[in-house]
């Protein structure tokens, strides 16, 4: 059985049908890219997988490690190993990044019935991962994402992913707002986290991210359904031809 199985998923937002029968199976160790034009439902899929309120599932099912995912609260999903890297990471004034990271990691451990990390152990892990992402410790003393540049915010997302060690990471438009240098740092961070025990879903509008994070499988999402699946060469084809052919196909 696949790690994540999405079968015939139908989702409404504000009474509009966004996902209309989406099927997807992701195994551990695989990196899937989901590409598609604006409004095709890419971010909706990311949000439904992570449990954001406001999305009404009207049909289909989603299982994670064989269990029904849709009935779980977002924090439980996180503790079970699902991580969403936000397209627009939120700013939380008044909460130091360090405090936030520690609260999150220990909350996940508590939900899983594991002991909390000791302070030295936690700091050791943060330092190790932060260094790999060129995040200095001063940044971690500042409130979460407040005053961070676009690149710093995305690196902070990848730092969280590295610390939480999820089984499934969903990266929602991680390339948006990044210049080429920042993109490379973030992509290298993601690549280091590729592992046989971890699956990734990389959601993107543009092919350029996939030059840096080379996917095993590429899906084209159009009008709420996956309309084509192929290898990494499919991304190049999309770059050359655009999404126009698929928008007709799905109609």
């Amino acid at each position: 059985m696949a790690l994540l199985e999405v079968k015939n998923l139908h989702v409404k937002v504000d009474d509009r049908d966004i996902l209309k029968g989406l099927d997807l199976a992701v195994n551990s160790g695989e990196v899937h890219a989901i590409m598609g034009p604006n409004g095709s439902g890419k971010s909706t899929l990311a949000h439904v997988l992570s449990g954001k309120p406001g999305y009404e599932v009207t049909g289909g099912e989603v299982t994670f490690e064989g269990a029904d995912l849709l009935e779980l609260a977002p924090d439980t999903r996180a503790a079970r190993g699902i991580f969403l890297a936000f397209q627009y990471p939120l700013e939380i004034p008044g909460v130091a990044t360090m405090t936030f990271l520690r609260t999150a990691i220990n909350a996940q451990r508590k939900t899983r019935g594991e002991p909390e990390l000791s302070t030295p152990e936690f700091i050791k892990r943060v330092r190790e991962q932060a260094a790999k992402l060129s995040i200095d410790l001063d940044m971690l003393k500042r409130p979460v994402n407040v005053g961070f540049s676009g690149g710093e915010k995305k690196r902070n997302e990848i730092l969280q992913m590295a610390l939480f060690e999820p089984k499934l990471a969903v990266l929602d438009e991680t390339d948006s707002g990044l210049d080429i240098d920042a993109l490379k740092v973030v992509a290298d961070g993601v690549n280091r986290l590729r592992s046989p025990d971890r699956a990734m879903i990389v959601i993107t509008h543009y092919q350029r991210l996939l030059n840096h994070i080379v996917p095993d499988i590429v899906h084209v999402l159009s009008k709420g359904r996956i309309v084509r699946t192929g290898g990494s060469e499919l991304a190049l084809e999309l770059e050359a031809k655009g999404y126009a052919p698929y928008q007709d196909e799905a109609a």
Partner: protein, 443 residues
């Protein structure tokens, strides 16, 4: 035939009048007695303020104050015993404590030994009974709060309080903590009045805390006259942790000289009906003023912050940030007015009030006002009230933090932004701990 119009007095107004007659009969005649008399007449002509009085629009004292309690007597041993642990939230600060129980200073609980050079502390009751002219002269004559009814009542009935003087150039490193405790289990009224004078170039960090037993409907009317000279630095943190049924009216009447640095922070969790009034006059150029507050209210608590900042001299910077967290059916009120007088050019004043509503039944009333009579100033104000941000909550939950904890973290963050403006780290830590304690009490 002439019809005489006599306004109908409420039970509380009648009670206050009777209490004043009784008080007057006990006190000697003199300058102070005349001051009390004049203040009481001012109250009598206005009566208790009600909702048609603009400054008290959201705090109808006539309705909220049903009766006048008898003046508190001398605290007994049991009341003093209860006061021993009062103000312990600041234990780690290591402040010099002056303890007042039921409005009267208790020397055996206070630390008056080895005062720093330049620091003078005495009892107001003592100064008044001896008629000390320099104290009497500086006690709120024509100060910024003059004319306010709660302040007038305080002047009429003032009992004890602290008289603190910091001499020119004296920098007092150790914070001073005025601990006000209501120690009796029976309801009475306390009128405390303090005077703090910071002379040129001097500095002081003041903590003021108020607490008392839950379920006793005692009444506190407290006032602080503050006179800050040029180049002086002063900061006050006032904590209101009064008992659950208490009525607490507090007035700050501050006059600030040139190039001073003054900050005031009010932390409110206690009391049933609370009004904290700040009358601040920036009378000298180049002063930096920071006023802030955090109110955490639940149940049917009513917490009102009334602010009047009067810039009579130019080139001052004013920052005001007030936050309230409102749960249950509580009501948070903020009325803030900044006046920039003609000639107070280059005034830079910003006032912000934010309310976080945690329940359907909570209410926030915010009324910021600017009155600007100078043409080269920067002034702004803002007011927001909202529920917790669902997107922020989701971000935290998506990181594995359960809903309740996510809410707690967000409320802490909301309050933290205001607390962070306090310069003294120990005081900041104490208020952060008190915020967490309040949050832990939310179911």
């Amino acid at each position: 035939m002439t019809a005489e119009l006599t306004p109908i007095k409420t039970a509380a107004e009648t009670g206050l009048a009777e209490a004043f007659i009784e008080l007057r009969s006990r006190l000697a005649n003199g300058v102070v007695a005349a001051r009390r008399e004049a203040a009481f007449r001012r109250f009598e002509t206005q009566g208790l303020p009600h909702r048609r009085v603009e400054e008290w629009k959201y705090t109808d004292l006539r309705a909220l104050m049903r009766d006048a309690k008898p003046l508190a007597g001398v605290p007994d041993a049991a009341a003093k015993a209860r006061a021993k642990s009062a103000g312990s939230m600041f234990a780690a600060v290591g402040a010099r404590r002056i303890v007042f129980v039921d409005g009267a200073v208790v020397p055996e609980l206070s630390d008056l030994a080895a005062l720093e050079r330049g620091l003078k502390i005495s009892s107001l009751a003592d100064a008044l009974s001896r008629g000390l002219p320099d104290v009497v002269a500086r006690l709120g004559t024509a100060g910024p709060a003059e004319g306010d009814v709660a302040y007038a009542l305080n002047t009429a009935f003032m009992g004890d309080g602290a008289v603190v003087e910091v001499g020119a150039g004296a920098e007092i490193a150790r914070p001073l903590h005025l601990v006000f405790v209501y120690g009796s289990q029976r309801a009475a009224a306390v009128f405390s009045r303090s005077l703090v004078v910071i002379e040129a170039g001097a500095s002081l960090t003041l903590i003021e805390s108020h607490e008392g037993p839950d379920g006793v409907d005692y009444q506190v009317n407290t006032a602080l006259d503050l006179i800050i000279s040029e180049h002086a630095r002063f900061s006050r943190t006032k904590v209101n942790a009064e008992g659950s049924a208490a009525l607490h009216l507090a007035t700050l009447s501050a006059t600030i000289g040139a190039n001073a640095n003054v900050s005031d922070f009010a932390f409110l969790t206690g009391g049933q009906v609370v009004r904290n009034q700040l009358f601040v006059q920036c009378a000298g150029v180049g002063t930096t003023l920071n006023l802030g507050g955090a109110s955490l209210l639940k149940g049917t608590q009513h917490g009102d912050t009334a602010l009047l900042v009067d810039h009579t001299a130019g080139g001052c910077q004013g920052r005001e940030l007030f936050k309230s967290v409102l749960d249950g059916a509580s009501r948070g009120v903020f009325q803030g007015k900044i006046i920039v007088r003609p000639g107070a050019q280059k005034t830079d004043a910003r006032m912000m009030t934010r309310s976080l509503l945690l329940s359907e039944g909570a209410e926030a009333d915010n009324k910021p006002e600017l009155e600007i009579f100078a043409d080269d100033v920067q002034c702004g104000h803002g007011a927001t009230s909202s529920a917790l941000d669902d997107n922020l909550k989701f971000y935290l939950m998506a990181r594995g933090i359960p809903e309740r904890n996510a809410e707690t973290l967000l409320i802490q963050s909301f309050v933290g932004e205001a607390i962070e403006t306090i310069a003294h780290e120990g005081v900041r830590d104490a208020l952060t701990a008190a915020t967490l304690h309040w949050l832990a009490g939310r179911q």
